[in-house]
């Protein structure tokens, strides 16, 4: 065993979901398999299961989000949990004490789980370290670091369309440098044994040593998507860019925007993904976004099921702890 992972309890069950890093292939596969079960809940007349009845889940969003917050809220409600939505705007300097105070107050209200979105990397870990032991924390995106449920919903979408990762070539296109989504995707793809993982980006939007991410690097879109099974587009993170990293969005589209014509070198049955929100005409044109190979809206539906799986796994682990079955 390596150093204890804060995300797991003594039995190796998922307690917090903060990052893909350090999680085993078996555990990621378990998340994907549980998700299959939750996908069916959307087909029920009553789109709800009683798994987390009586639990309180607080969405702590220090950074704005539409899709992630609503899908987390919907996922919690479909598990029959009670949901608190807290949109907390805060200045980065005031963070430390405010964050802990907020945490203690919510714990006093017997909240069982925090879903945290924050502009600073490491925030979710910080909260997990300081939270009461019976509370679980799920990272809904922190700074440039991690967005593990997005990573897993992308893996789930790929698996449903393409099956086993061991035969796949997956290309991730765009702003790798600022993207927590990309980090989570690349970690998950490699943990799940993807045959070939590629990144396609201008040098200014790549980290200093991109090969360390376990990827093949391309700077030409047409070359990079050649024979790919899956093409994942990333949003340009303008809000996280400091200084001139791009000449203009127009020029970015000229070089890295996905069009049907540029997609023609990919496998004929390749799927196109995007975590949203899409900047149409920047990362991809509408013809691709709304085209037959796009699975972008399916990603949103799958996101609810993945979040249900992760939340119920963490709450289930809490239940075992609460009864003194483990975690002495």
């Amino acid at each position: 065993m390596s150093a204890p992972n804060i995300q797991l309890d003594n039995q190796g069950n998922l307690k917090h979901f903060l990052t893909i890093e350090g999680l085993s292939r078996d555990l990621l596969t378990e998340v994907l398999e549980k998700t299959e079960g939750f996908l069916g809940v959307a087909r029920q007349a009553v789109k709800k299961v009683p798994l987390c009845r009586g639990k309180v889940i607080a969405n702590l969003f220090f950074e704005t989000s539409t899709r992630t917050r609503t899908t987390f809220e919907l996922a919690a409600k479909r598990l029959s949990a009670d949901v608190l939505n807290l949109n907390i705007s805060t200045s980065a300097t005031a963070k430390g004490e405010t964050l802990l105070d907020t945490l203690r107050n919510l714990e006093a209200m017997h909240v069982d789980m925090f879903v945290v979105r924050h502009a600073d990397s490491g925030s979710a870990h910080f909260i997990a370290q300081h939270a009461n032991p019976h509370v679980s924390v799920i990272n809904a995106g922190d700074g440039r670091y991690s967005h593990p449920t997005q990573g897993m919903l992308d893996m789930f979408t790929i698996r449903r369309h393409k099956g086993d990762f061991e035969n796949l070539c997956v290309a991730v296109v765009g702003d790798i440098l600022h993207s927590r989504v990309a980090r989570s995707q690349l970690l998950a793809l490699n943990t799940l044994g993807t045959a070939e993982v590629r990144v396609i980006a201008p040098r200014t939007l790549l980290p200093a040593n991109p090969e360390a991410l376990g990827v093949r690097v391309f700077h030409d879109l047409r070359e990079g998507v050649r024979d790919a099974d899956v093409v994942i587009m990333l949003r340009l993170q303008r809000e996280r860019m400091r200084g001139a990293m791009l000449p203009s969005e127009h020029e970015y589209f000229q070089l890295f925007g996905l069009t049907e014509e540029r997609l023609s070198t990919a496998k004929p049955d390749a799927i196109v993904m995007h975590p949203g929100p899409i900047n149409r005409g920047v990362e991809m044109d509408s013809q691709v976004a709304d085209g037959p190979r796009s699975v972008i809206l399916e990603q949103v539906s799958n996101g609810i099921a993945v979040r249900m799986a992760v939340m119920s796994m963490c709450i289930g682990t809490q239940n075992i702890r609460g009864q003194g079955y483990s975690d002495g």
């Binding site: 549980k34 299959e36 069916g40 029920q44 009553v46 299961v49 119920s312 289930g316 075992i320």
Partner: protein, 179 residues
Amino acid sequence: MSNTEVFESAAAIGGIIERMASELTTLLLHRAVTAPLMVGIHTGGVWIAEELHSKLDLADPLGRLDISFYRDDFTRLGMHPQVRPSDLPVAVDDRHIVLVDDVLQTGRTIRAALNVLFDYGRPASVMLTTLVKRSGRELPVEPNVTGLNLDLPPGRQIKLTGPDPLELVVVQTPKDRLK
């Protein structure tokens, strides 16, 4: 250590299912149900339901229920390790449902299965058929058609293994765990 012995062989189970199919046909005739919807509970119940479904030659496809999300021991044991998607290809609204499980003991599985069914819609009626009806009821649940009727002490479990061959085995468990 648990200790396992075969209780009924595949051949014997074939005969039992044959009898269940004929009793079920009589029951459906008696109730004037012409097109029942058959639903098996994962995993053993689905195996029995597949056999009954083909013997009764039902027109509508078989439904499969997973009750993991409705179990009453989630608050004690956490998530069930094996979760399969429920699959009800035909709407349950206003239909006569034949619910199939392998072993009826406490009745908690059936309680959960009824909750799943009703979250899919409002059936006209639900009939229950189980391969084995054994002692140990904790809820007021009784099957309409049953294959074997057994009285077993609490520490003994009877389980269906399969799908090929289908066998009933008796397991002596170290402690009495609730089904």
